[in-house]
Symmetry: C2
Subunit: 575 residues, 2 copies
């Protein structure tokens, strides 16, 4: 070894450098706590020793079928152990795991499988026909050029065996049988380069063309640790899977739990399952009986808990339960109610492109003493960057100049650093746009408060422009949510003869709320808003009914916009 | 942007890649908790906003004097805020921080300063003459070729102002004045490459030639986060600096505390200060009055606490206090006593070359139910790898084959991964040896237990060979420690006419132990050991007195070996 010229000259070698990858976490968990529960699903209970062996089997079985570097393995399943295992077994083989949103329809899934060139499709027994239909669509489109992926069906003993039998009769390999073909001692290797891809996930988006977000080993490692750090999530945490694992890899908690040697409690019936919504009963029961310390949920999950019928709520909680919420900002009233029940809410924000949540409303102990309203107002902000995201700002999207930290100047939220995706798959134009000027452009609009915390005000396209003035649909929603009869609400622009656009509120009333006279309730909501908002922000129309949602629980604003369009413009009123 | 060929092809860019460095932690802490205490030292209390500004001032002031990439800044000081600041301010300027052990003598410090080509020396007022003497020695050796480093003296209002005045009269710049020359808004940049060096630390070693361990930004970032993770150390932790910051950068906790937005409580009088030992009183007082939740200490610190006079102990503890200990394995009796007092002990092990601790005896809840002795025995093991260290094994040093996990086969402890140093400065031979066969060679001997946990048995050179059989001096020490009259003990080889070598115990009796008749006490200790050890492991000689220690509290075995040599060989006894 030659003498170095200066103190920066010492070279890398096998002893002091290796690629960062969350795969290291699994190896360590199996060593540290081999007998501790890793993944629990109904009567099925795996230990970390089991999970490590099963993941190595999966990797080995894939490798033996030449699935490896450059390959994509699609997974179509709710929260069951096999999805957890795919997060390790697939990259151990060198391949990329693509968890597919199970609420998508066959044409969309066909688009994804074709776009990602999936070589293997792992599918839960109940979603077999979705996979089958999707593959048929591709086969028809591509004719002879189509190579059928390897189809693996995952049996679930908590389901009716009929769908499994049917799948097997059609030639799919059963997952457990497939694992049997792999070596439980498979000598996996970390990727040669930590920039290698580990996961692919399509934006469920409110747009028509899903984009494939590619994540790498380095980012997955760093954001997994960040997710533990900002949440105060320690070794041995017990995590309830209300959030789908297919949604941004479960916000990286799939990998975090291995780093913490924690336990995953699966909830097959999560909030976006087609068969049933996640219930407050299931959540309270897991807290009471399975030692749950942490779970994540979109605001709709919080809503479900806060509005649980007394018979379903097991209170008081046996311990502090930490709840991370993201997506849209939860209404202050929901935040306050959750705190009163004894849940500790951590409010985060992020996108598929930032490995899930990447900002956190870091709580300050001095806020504990503030009045409820003030606490909720501070808490509803999206906050500061994760430890694993090195840059976060709100900027003028044209000049890239940061907006003043005044809590009112609107700008685009931009991010940069190791917590930003590798890029969109086969989409150079989208990449060029997303990464313009050296920042990732979130497409979300927000403000920076005097304390440096950011707050999302709207998706760029969710701004309502009334008489030339911007109205934040999120702010209007917040006001509507506070009305005692409102369970859920979403506000979009509706054409307005006089003002160009005006706010139109879509509202689901609470069970038991008196909604027999919709016109009276609508009038009451408008009056309620008038006390809280500038006059031109008050919804001019209120429409009642269930809200359409994406697979991940986000309200499909584009459908509501379409409905608002059908309603036609608000007529000019005589004042 | 060209379309990628496959899913691994997306390139790095400014938006989605940046160097890992703990400097990011500081920027974030100042944003998240600007008003929270960052570093407290007697009457001095800095907030994170202060610390960030002060560190940027330091970086800017250094940069204005052309101290930057390739430069080394030496720091000679006990645990005071300036040392904390140097851990950020120096690398923000692009330079490398070298914290020097304050118990070293002038010729050794001269060697270090010359070897590291220190361009700046920051020195605490009380250690000014040490710096002065060291620089004089270099000047004499190098004659005209010597360029005097910039000398900055750090005043400490908890000290007598005389030494500060004296230093200033000799032309040194006062630290606060130096900071004034820097810009508090200095636009620091992360290193272009995370492999760039951040810190240099010389092994205090028991050998005569100190080696300069070079650490890089990437490793410092990863091991800082690891240190939080394995210890369950959360956001806002309050950390008491009993461990010197100059010792492996305070085991990376300097940087960890910024990641956690925690608070550092300085203890100027730490256990290796020349003026006084760290006292149990100071520790209990900080726990009671300053909210301390965590501290680190070599076993000697634990000893001090366990043997504290009742008047000094403030019990019961107001909260669980987490104590990390490393270095030598603490005797089981000390571990058990600490637990009884309410301290939660985490036992770790590591070297300067692994950023401080890099293995942890990960505790299993099921061990809580075991009898005290059994718990202590399990707890005294060095355990498994940190999350940030990817490889740990015990191997036959010749063949590199792992030893069987049988708890008895001795081998060398080897490590690899991102938690291993960059290398030794200007020492290609030592690097080649240390990194031979793709592993870092610790030089420590140990075993692997059936559960995969490792246990250090000895430094290679600490093995005593008696009649051709290996004796672990550590095991003998453990037995001696259990004797009720023993405060501290160290066991080395002494020449033996009959057996070649035999164990010689150096013992400090407890205050109050009846040591008036040393021969009787020695005989009693030998009898005590005979009940616990194989006959040939029993010390044939017991010598009483204080034990010589390195600046970091390690017992200087080489001095004891020299003493044992002076004693001459143990005479052949007639049996």
């Amino acid at each position: 070894m030659a003498a170095e010229r200066d103190i920066d000259d010492l070279p890398r070698g096998g002893a002091n450098y290796t690629a960062l990858t969350p795969l290291w976490f699994l190896e360590r968990a199996a060593l540290a706590h081999p007998a501790r529960a890793s993944v629990v699903h109904g009567p099925v209970r795996y230990t970390w020793a089991d999970t490590y062996r099963r993941c190595r089997r999966l990797a080995s079985a894939l490798a033996r079928r030449s699935v490896g570097h450059g390959s994509t393995v699609a997974v179509i399943a709710p929260n069951i152990p096999a999805v957890y295992e795919a997060h390790f077994g697939v990259p151990m083989a060198g391949a990329v795991v693509n968890c597919v949103n199970i609420r998508l329809n066959a044409p969309t899934v066909a688009f994804l499988l074709e776009h990602s060139s999936a070589e293997v499709v792992m599918v839960d027994q109940e979603f077999f026909s979705l996979a089958e239909d999707s593959l048929r669509i591709i086969a028809e489109q591509k004719k002879g050029a189509f190579k059928q992926p390897l189809l693996i069906v995952i049996g679930d003993q908590t389901c009716d065996p009929v769908s499994l039998k049917s799948a097997l009769s059609k030639g799919a390999i059963e997952y457990e049988e497939f694992l049997e073909t792999g070596d439980p001692e498979f000598a996996w290797k970390p990727p040669q380069d930590e920039w290698k891809s580990i996961a692919l996930g399509y934006t469920s988006g409110t747009t028509s063309n899903p984009k494939g977000v590619v994540l790498h080993h380095r980012g997955a490692y760093l954001m997994s640790l960040s997710g533990a750090l900002v949440w105060g999530m320690n070794e041995g945490a017990v995590y309830l899977w209300t959030l789908p694992m297919f949604h941004c890899n479960g916000w990286c908690y799939t990998w975090t739990l291995a780093a913490l040697c924690g336990t995953s409690i699966c909830l097959r019936q999560h909030f976006c399952s087609p068969s049933s919504q996640v219930t407050a009963k299931a959540i309270f029961s897991a807290i009471a009986n399975q030692g749950v310390t942490h779970f994540c949920g979109a605001p709709v999950v919080l809503n479900t808990i806060v509005n649980a019928p007394p018979a379903d709520a097991i209170l008081p909680l046996p311990r502090v339960v930490n709840v991370m919420t993201a997506g849209a900002a939860p209404p202050p009233s929901v935040l306050a109610s959750m705190s009163k029940l004894g849940f500790r809410i951590t409010h985060t924000y992020g996108l598929s492109e930032t490995y899930g949540p990447s900002t956190v409303c870091a709580w300050k102990p001095e806020w504990d003493e503030l009045p409820d309203d003030e606490r909720a107002r501070l808490h509803a902000r999206q906050g500061i960057r994760y430890v694993g995201l090195e840059g976060l700002d709100v900027v003028d999207p044209k000049t890239m100049a940061p907006v003043p930290a005044d809590g009112s100047t609107l700008g685009e939220i931009v991010m940069r650093g190791n917590g930003v995706m590798k890029g969109y798959l086969k989409n150079p134009r989208a990449n060029a746009e997303a990464f313009e000027n050296g920042w990732f452009h979130s497409g979300d609009l927000g403000v920076k408060h005097t304390d440096g915390y950011i707050e999302v005000k709207d998706r760029a396209k969710d701004i309502i422009i009334s008489g030339g003035e911007n109205i934040s649909s999120l702010e209007v929603e917040k006001a509507v949510y506070q009305h005692p009869a409102v369970l859920e609400a979403s506000v979009v622009a509706r054409a307005d003869e006089q003002w160009g656009e005006s706010p139109c509120a879509f509202v689901t009333p609470k069970d038991g709320a008196d909604s027999s006279d919709e016109a009276a309730l609508a009038g009451d909501i408008m009056r309620f808003c008038r006390e809280r908002l500038p006059g031109y922000w008050v919804p001019k129309s209120v429409v009642f009914g269930p809200l359409p949602k994406t697979a991940t629980g986000k309200i499909k604003k584009h459908e509501l916009r379409a409905k608002a369009k059908e309603l036609g413009p608000v007529r000019k009123s005589r004042m």
